[in-house]
Symmetry: C2
Subunit: 82 residues, 2 copies
């Protein structure tokens, strides 16, 4: 399944607990779209968060994130990785 | 050790082989700065590449990437992760 990197802005001050809760909100509904959210990293100072997922397409990633309460329009396919 | 997410732009058309070679160039010299490059993902279409590393600080990440031939000024600490 294709892999994606999505980017969130404006999450200033994000904590481990908040990121875990946001990730869990994705996990709770991701099966609806066949998405598998795998990892996420956050920088409380800049407010940036990145998530790696596998999904049928970028739109599925966006729909899950939107329903989970943290929408983003910035989702890149990452077919290349090491 | 602190973890970092760095972002590269302009790597349009990047292939698995090219990303692997770039990553290896980092690995070859990363011990000089105590950096541990762990994963990287690339989008050939947008030219974006993201790398996750552990390092003493962001400047060490920048120095290794610069010496390896793929400099970036965009290195975020990511103390929060799931």
């Amino acid at each position: 399944m294709p892999r994606f990197m999505d980017v969130h802005e404006g999450m200033h001050g994000i904590t481990d607990e908040a990121l875990r809760a946001a990730h869990q909100a994705d996990l709770d509904i991701q099966d609806d779209e066949g998405v598998d959210f795998q990892r996420a990293w956050g920088d409380p100072e800049s407010g940036m968060v990145w998530c790696v997922s596998e999904a049928p397409d970028a739109e599925a990633v966006k729909r899950i994130h939107e329903r989970a309460g943290h929408p983003t329009t910035t989702v890149y396919p990452v077919p290349v990785e090491v």
